[in-house]
Symmetry: D2
Subunit: 263 residues, 4 copies
């Protein structure tokens, strides 16, 4: 299918009602816009800045909620894992196992995810030249698994800043798998807690999204929440779910133009 | 006018016949695509890597050739100046005075250009945060001249590399003047002479152009030449003029989508 | 003690004889120069670029060899762990548990290491502003463990390059624990396999080492090997053990001057 | 002479009495520490952020004051030029013509400075890989002038930040001329006016100075002022002249150690 697909959901799994409301909205918007969607949320954010921050409900409870969403809404599911022993249990529930950007070079983790046979979404390490994403990709391929997605989310640019380099989409595309652009993480300002509104430069969401899609991607990744300012993680960067439809429209049209001219 | 405008021509003024052939092609393409165009070329490249490299024919001969092109093709003209005393004579011939990126902070140069009343195209310094382009802009405004264009051409990213940051188009747009994207200079690999084909990463021209236009610009800047490999400057980065039309088509369509959604 | 201390050893645990020869040399050099030393080697490099590269002998065999070295030479030991369940077994043998740079933000890993009560050496993530190393440090402190070392090893600078920013030593020193400079990893050229000699810019070892020590550190980290070109990991960057003494001499003298003027 | 030499003085030429007081202090300190010194100040800062900021007294008045200082204190003099026609008049008074960092690639400017036969101090462009400083150096050599100094002052690192890369001293040293480290400009925070105290990160002056000297330089460049907070330019970064002696002491000792081990 040539349609721009969407990976979306709240950053971390919160209360069931919040998860359901978000799913409902995502369902409504993606049906209206007629694009495929994968529901995303994390059961355990293991790389938060403080042990005092909310990390999620844990694997068992998190997977239970995700399973319920799948049953109710029919979405394919994506979640991220931080440790090798999470690969199998997560794969029993979700369709896409995501490797966090910081962990993209961890051989055991990547290989265990690959061995489940599920699609592996490799996030692009903020410290890795885009073309070098071929290396963790080859680790997945070494298991015989060719269900791979590569996701851009920004590259280190001085201190506490990330840059989205359009060349990255080209270089990652050359590796030979679908490329996704994670737009909401690209605006995080590190060094500022995500609960502080200045921890995310939301004014850049449209311009980054449009640039990335026109650079050539197959899907986009947008974390969304019924009320971002109350979100338990990435409050400063998630998109208000009520803005999702308007946010997606130009991206879908730009994708159509880009695809027409893609070689 | 809401059409994407084009600034184009050979990097440096070469033989008259080369300049004429390029002008003819640019005329043909821009008429066919129905977009406005400004013809660009430099009479003196004062920042080449070696005194042995071709710098151009000098101001007098250069301006004579540009004037002839204007007469024959009816193009508005753009050229860059490196020293304050070049502002007035150049302004007698051209419509847009361009300030080179390295020189964007030179007060006397910028002010002398502004005083001519001509449009000033300020190139974005590779070392200046995009929002800080407001500073040289204010120097121009201080003379009463509000005819200003701001041109992105890449920001320093490690050694010998430039990055195009889509946020730059947003930040420069906020300053309040038309924003142009100089695509061909964005692919130069510094440290490698431009006569060496590896001195320009041409594979990135489409992806950068598309990303920049979708990020929101009013015009684009593309150096073009009848035979780039023989060009006397920037041989590795100029676009072959026979590829200009195909290069522009997706950019024009992406611009139309972007403009529809621009607030 | 105010003496510059050394963390040294082969990058990854190789054959026992290689490990012993290196230990012998390190013992000889550090006794002659009269500086404290911690013997370092990894039992499992989980972040190598390919599954085909040597990862080490694994935890059990690796720890056995390290224990033998400790018994024979009396060195305190350091090794790195990549997964939480390695913390306890490793802590039974070594004195310092090292958290790899990419993994410095992984809460569970850092906390499990901290809970052993052993000294934790936190490598500075190549993507983290130096002052933000206070955050994983606080995760260690949250367990009551205050035995912490912070190690600089370079920050992302464009693609495939790391920069050593002298300000980093200042910022990390402000956090309040001993600061170490890992000199040999700072010269790795990513994107080039470490088995290729161009994968490490060895010419910079002295200048980086001297700059870092004068910037103010308490210890240095230098991977060394009897024959780096035959090393099974980081062949391009490890220091030949026969050069260790000459390499250390200026660093020790610079440290003495720096310490005299440190506030 | 193997002594670390000092280039020092107020950033821009202010009132004569201020210039004299600074000269007196510099004389006192450098005689006490027994190091060679060149007095530095600018007659026209042509790259300030606003036309409303003080640019200096202009060339004629500026050179008059510098000449007076030379007569009274016997210092060799350094000043920077921004335009080619300033080379000759400035060379009639000063011993070293400095090319500002932004202008290091301007051929005419560099060549005109070189033709005076005076020593040319080329500041390292914030956008130029250190090894590429060989290119403007060759422009000077093309005139037969071999009196060259190369000065590091920081390289672009994300937005509004500069990094001092110790490798830069090595690479610039390989070009074959004395290398100087401009420490006070390395701490400027661009985007913040220099009249705002947060426009300079003074806490890093010692750590940067020590790292740079240990990396291997022949001289250092420190802008100093009787009362930096009242300085008419770079108020946030100049060193209080009363701190100069204490600032220099460790640098001189580190230089002695470095020189002993320099090949």
């Amino acid at each position: 299918d040539d349609k721009l697909f969407l990976i979306s959901g709240p950053c971390v799994i919160e209360e069931e009602s919040t998860m359901m409301r978000t799913a409902e909205k995502i369902k409504e918007v993606t049906e209206k816009l007629d694009i495929p969607v994968i529901y995303k949320s994390s059961f355990q954010k293991d790389n938060r800045s403080s042990v005092d921050y909310y990390m999620g409900p844990g694997m068992d409870e998190g997977l239970r909620i995700l399973e319920k969403i799948k049953k109710e809404f029919g979405f394919p599911l994506l979640t991220d894992i931080h440790y090798p022993d999470q690969a199998k249990p997560a794969a029993d529930v979700v369709d896409v196992l995501q490797i966090p950007a910081y962990l993209c070079m961890q051989t055991t983790l990547v290989v265990e995810a690959a061995k489940t046979g599920k699609t592996v979404n490799l996030k692009h390490g903020q410290f890795l030249a885009p073309e070098n994403m071929a290396k963790p990709t080859a680790k997945i391929e070494s298991t015989g698994n060719k269900n791979i997605i590569l996701t851009e989310r920004g590259y280190t640019f001085g201190y506490n800043d990330l840059v989205i380099d359009p060349r990255s989409f080209y270089d990652m595309g050359k590796i030979g798998y679908p490329v996704v652009f994670d737009i909401t993480h690209a605006i995080r300002k590190y060094g500022i807690p995500s609960s502080d509104p200045s921890g995310g430069a939301r004014q850049y969401l449209p311009v980054l999204g449009r640039a990335g899609v026109a650079a050539g991607v197959d899907g986009i990744f947008v974390e969304t929440h019924p009320c971002p300012s109350d979100a338990l993680c990435d409050a400063a960067s998630q998109l208000d779910m009520d803005q999702l439809e308007e946010f997606l429209k130009p991206l879908i049209e730009l994708h159509e133009v880009e695809l027409k001219y893609r070689k």
